[in-house]
């Protein structure tokens, strides 16, 4: 059994890691080793870059030299183009880690006169591979041949031979191809490269462009099948698959304060779990940001770093506004424990935001992250995209055990517990802030909708935003639920009154007891006096009777001795 298992493991497809962030997770290890992979996409979709990064990462990280066969750009152009991504092709070439062969083909210079094959291409590629012992090959874009050589039949036969030859060489290859109208590639390269096909796409929706990657096919391997957004920035390509983190992270038992003692109490007395995600939703002006600032400030006081993403206000505005409710963020900023990052959601697309965040989180290494508010991101993407992005953010943060505090603006006409993005299922704790309108007043109430993994208060509590911050009031229940505002104040006064009355009553009762005891004591004393008098009397009587009895006995004894009828001693014994 075990042997069988080992055998299947052996037979499994070997993978060649690309070193591209996210792509290896997506393909569960990389591209099929020793086989060609087709990367197709429209112009400017990042094919060349993907191929180049595959080679550069191979050369620098995995010690697998690579050959880049370029049909479109010269070696110099290539080096210049990728230098902005931090790839130093020249030094790699000098160190024999990389070979670039630029193939120039111009139809007008070529005259076709009968039978030929592409052995020259094979020889060049073979020579380049052998000269640096390459394990990886990128061919970009071989379709240029179709424009350069007139005979399609020969070309197709030669391409088929090329891909077989690459397999025989045992190199892992990336072949790029231009996306066709109705097919994956313009010239049907997918017919030849059947092992793995990756499709790159660059789409503009609502004026915001997003690059996407999809693995169309991967023979012999499981892979992520969705379209995954990816980015090209100064560090190259990064794919951000939702599944890249997965639901598999350590969960700490440590607790982290909400920053408000009474709110901590509502969360089982200790606050949130560390590494959990918290959502605070509420209508405009309910104090979501204030709650967030409390949380941030409390974290900083505990020497935890806090990264605050603000999508509405500038850092200066936040510090000023929070100072007005008694939360002083300046020391936190000065100590560099707090970093406020303000960005307009519409500045970039969602994926760029995600990457920005992840990079900042990587650099700043915070213990807590605040995002205020996530609802603003909706302006950038479709709800489903926003949700997918937030899923990835939550996954990422959880895997790093970062406690995250999201705020979400709910529209007053919708259900209060309906968050626009439907992200509540991603959250471990959910606090709802709401306006309670009653008796001509608008007051604010806080309740905990859920808090995974702990007993939490079910109480709706009124709170006020005071000069000392967020203050949770005492709870007074009336016939219509929690009393708020003036009704609560009235009730408070009533309670105070009732309490004073009760205190008076207690005093009165105490005095009553005193009196009762005094009466009882007096009665006891009188009874005792009577008893003692009577006892005296009785004792006197007893003594008299005893004396009389003694006298009678003596009398009887005297008479008996006088009559000599009895012995004096016997009588004495008897008595």
């Amino acid at each position: 059994m075990a042997k069988e298992k080992a055998a299947t493991h052996q037979a499994q497809l070997q993978k060649c890691p690309t070193g591209i962030i996210g792509l290896d997770e997506l393909t569960q290890g990389g591209l099929p080793r020793g086989r060609p992979t087709l990367v197709t996409g429209s112009a400017g979709s990042g094919k060349t870059l993907l191929a180049m990064e595959f080679l550069v990462k191979g050369a620098t990280v995995y010690n697998e030299p690579g050959v880049f066969m370029a049909f479109e750009e010269t070696a110099d152009d290539l080096a210049k183009n990728v230098a902005s991504l931090g790839f130093d092709l020249d030094s790699l070439t000098n160190n024999k880690k990389l070979a670039i062969d630029y193939v120039y083909i111009e139809r007008s210079e070529i005259e076709e006169t009968g039978e030929y094959d592409l052995e020259g291409l094979f020889i060049r590629l073979g020579h380049a591979i052998d000269s640096i012992h390459a394990k990886r090959v990128a061919i970009d874009t071989i379709e240029v041949l179709f424009g350069g050589l007139p005979n399609d039949a020969i070309l197709r036969a030669e391409l088929r031979r090329l891909f077989r030859w690459l397999k025989d060489k045992g190199v892992t290859a990336i072949i790029t191809g231009e996306r066709g109208e109705n097919s994956l590639t313009r010239y049907g390269l997918e017919e030849y490269v059947a092992d793995c096909v990756i499709l790159l796409d660059h789409r503009i929706v609502d004026q915001i462009s997003t690059r996407r990657l999809r693995i169309v096919k991967y023979r012999g391997s499981a892979h992520g099948t969705n379209e995954y957004p990816f980015l090209i920035d100064e560090e190259g390509l990064s794919v951000l698959p939702v599944t890249s983190v997965g639901l598999n992270y350590d969960v700490p038992k440590e607790r982290i304060s909400t920053g408000i003692t009474r709110l901590d109490t509502m969360f089982d007395g200790k606050g949130f779990y560390k590494g959990s995600s918290i959502l605070v939703s509420g209508t405009a002006g309910t104090g979501k940001s204030t709650l967030a600032a409390h949380f941030a400030e409390a974290a900083c006081r505990k020497n935890r770093r806090c990264l605050y993403f603000a999508f509405e206000e500038s850092p200066q505005q936040i510090t000023r506004n929070m100072a007005s409710v008694g939360i002083d963020l300046k020391p936190c900023l000065q100590k560099k424990l707090l970093m406020i990052r303000s960005m307009r959601p519409t500045f970039y697309g969602l994926e760029m935001h995600l990457l920005e965040m992840i990079k900042l989180i990587h650099a700043f290494d915070p213990g807590v992250v605040v995002m205020d508010p996530i609802t603003n991101l909706i302006t950038v993407g479709l709800p489903v995209d926003v949700k997918s992005m937030l899923t990835r953010v939550v996954d990422y943060l959880k895997s790093r055990q970062i406690t995250t505090f999201f705020t979400s603006l709910t529209s007053p006409d919708g259900s209060l517990e309906l968050t626009d993005i439907g992200v509540s299922s991603l959250m471990d704790a959910w606090i709802v802030l709401r306006d309670i309108e009653a008796e001509g007043e608008r007051n604010r109430g806080l309740s905990i909708v859920k808090s995974r993994g702990m007993a939490h208060s079910n109480q709706v509590r009124e709170y006020r935003l005071t000069a000392k911050g967020f203050y949770l009031e005492d709870v007074y229940l009336g016939p219509q639920g929690v009393l708020t505002g003036a009704a609560r104040a009235a009730r408070e006064a009533e309670e105070a009154q009732a309490s004073a009355e009760r205190a008076d009553e207690i005093q009165r009762q105490k005095r009553q007891i005193e009196r009762k005891r005094a009466i009882t004591d007096a009665q006891v004393a009188a009874l005792r006096a009577g008893y003692e008098a009577e006892a005296e009397e009785l004792k006197k009587k007893i003594a008299e009777m005893e004396a009389r009895e003694k006298a009678a006995a003596l009398q009887r004894a005297k008479i008996a001795s006088m009559r000599k009828a009895d012995k004096e001693v016997d009588h004495a014994e008897k008595s």
Binding site: I105, I110, T113, Y116, G120, R124, L145
Partner: protein, 109 residues
Amino acid sequence: MPKNPKVKEEPEFWELRLYVAGQTPKSLAAFANLKKICEEHLQGKYTIEVIDLLKNPTLAKGDQILAIPTLVRKLPEPVRKIIGDLSNTERVLIGLDLRPDATRSRRSP
């Protein structure tokens, strides 16, 4: 520019390079065909250098060789490539600029 280049090229020398990869039938045919054409049209005004890429693979890069066999006309300029086994004599002559070809010879390189 509109001058007919043929007039100027007449006294020039044809420097030809034939790229092959081993002694394949196509290569042999190409060499035989080339020899025949040159003897017919360029007697005494040509050299043929045969380069076997199996022996000198690095040379493929210099002349941007892909197809085998490829005949490169180094001189007279401009450089021109003729691919295939050179069995189509007509096209070889056009490629070598030995036949006036309206579309080709007027085109600037």
